[in-house]
Symmetry: C2
Subunit: 313 residues, 2 copies
């Protein structure tokens, strides 16, 4: 029993990524197969089990060596682990736990993908050993996950921790959600690239023009930090906004750490160092309270299935 393995599955709109792990987080096998969501819920669930079997088989193991399967879902998962809504795979009100019984005898755990990413960092990643961890995923959108007392906090019916749609600036930038001034409209990779293109159109001599305008990404922008005036100004503004969100989260909820993930976070210390410095300086009641650590996520591309696997513990 104690030597049993855990399986983590990261369910995406295009691909199902998975891994077989030991209980201390070592990845023994990983791989992916197409989601084929057009085959319906059962089709996707069968693909999940198929991937798990393939991965187990590749290391000479089978389902009987496994403790449980953890599943990260791109949508709203309620506290009973029903999927309320997952737009990318066209699921509405799916009782995954029960439907999985048709395809496997293994115990199945479910969580929202941003939430399980946070759990993964707290169990196996950069925040290993911490109990209260907030994770901000700075990617196409801004995802967020909250681990409290070592467990995912998902709010009423699993709808919590959507910090991406808290308002950062009243009447600010238009957000895809319909509101104006959302955190996501400032801190997503998409937003930073948008701001950069806006500046490029105003500054024909910025070094940003050495990149392909249509394919500009945040890595390009950060590569010019302190080298190009326009890029540096853009990044400093981005850091100020990100700091504000981190400060508010720190004062309002005082986690042990805020973990930054997603594409933007690959800039590493360019982001974490100045924000840590400002947090240390300005956090509320700093003379007699602990600060909040600002960390870059460490699980990288495997964060999805590793986080999902951590649901099994």
């Amino acid at each position: 029993m104690d030597n049993k393995l855990i399986v983590g599955i990261d369910l995406g709109g295009t691909a199902i990524k998975g891994g077989v792990l030991t209980k201390d987080g070592q990845v023994l096998a990983k791989g992916q197969i197409p989601t084929e969501f057009e085959k319906g819920v059962d089709g996707v669930l069968q693909n999940i089990v198929k991937l798990a079997d393939q991965l187990l088989n590749s290391i000479g193991k089978s389902q009987k060596d496994v403790l449980a399967i953890g599943l990260g879902v791109p949508g709203i998962v309620d506290n009973n682990m029903n999927v309320i809504e997952a737009t990318n795979i066209a699921w509405t009100n799916v009782d995954v736990i029960n439907r999985m019984k048709k395809f496997t005898d293994l115990k199945v755990y479910l969580g929202n993908d941003a939430n399980v990413a946070a759990l993964g960092e707290a169990k196996f990643g950069v925040a290993k050993g911490m109990k209260d961890v907030f994770m901000l995923t700075l990617g196409t959108g801004v995802g967020s996950g909250y681990v409290i007392d070592g467990k995912i906090f998902a709010g009423n019916l699993g709808c919590g921790a959507e910090i991406g749609h808290a308002i950062l600036k009243v009447n600010g930038e238009q957000c895809n959600c319909g509101q104006k001034g959302c955190v996501e409209a400032y801190l997503s990779a998409t937003a930073l690239v948008k701001f950069a293109k806006r500046e490029m159109n105003k500054n024909k001599d910025t070094l940003l023009w050495k990149f392909d305008y249509d394919k500009l990404n945040t890595k390009d922008i950060f590569s010019l930090y302190k080298e190009d005036k326009v890029a540096t100004k853009l990044i400093n503004k981005y850091l100020k906004d990100l700091y504000l969100v981190c400060l508010n989260l720190s004062n309002a909820f005082r986690p042990e750490a805020i973990v930054l993930g997603g594409g933007v976070s690959l800039a590493g210390e360019i982001i974490t160092k100045p924000i840590q410095k400002m947090i240390d300086k300005n956090i509320f009641a700093k003379s007699f309270t602990p600060t909040v650590q600002i960390l870059s996520a460490s699980l990288g591309n495997d964060a999805g299935f590793i986080g999902a696997a951590s649901l099994c513990l």
Copy 2:
């Protein structure tokens, strides 16, 4: 055992307020005595036990009829129920649980006063039966308490839920904490009165002048809602700011309810109705997620000791 009573103590800088309750929240006796914090920690703890004994005695009961004492403290209480800092009563690093053993054999529970107020509303008040409840206390300052899964969430070392010092407006109003633009600098009763006086000095014909300028309070201001242009504008601006905080809390943490307490909340539906309407309209992903109820606190002046008593359950 099942018929045992609970005692709640609200420890303030000037007075210790207390009550004896049944386990379903019925108040059988209540009263107060001076804190006398200048007598030191033991002096205050003795006063707490003295008040408890007096109250029990008044209904023909004694400590043997009591399950436990709950204590709400105006300061930072860590997760082991040590008081880290309580400025108003001059306590630093006080191990209350152990020191109380000198004065009573009863089990003692401790919590920050804003946090226990939230717990009280969730156990016995307007949010009775709910598991995830956020409470904002709009008084001299802005306090906040968060109940998650029926328990107080206090963050790392008990420093969480200081939403009063999250930034509402960058470079906004000066806050007493040193930052600019804090929630407290906009939503405390103190802030509303300050804004009202600012407007009075600009508008000699506002009806606000019928009140004593030096003693102006939020009740005065709300009494002129929809009657006086200046007061109405002030209140509408206040509601907009409060709505923003409620929306952000709703999207970021999706509690079942946000309970508004403190002096300002006595305005009742003038506040809760328009904010509920805007939340229902704008909450993230509203088509498939539950809204957040905006409620006025119901425990009134007794909230402190009733909340403290709820720690015993």
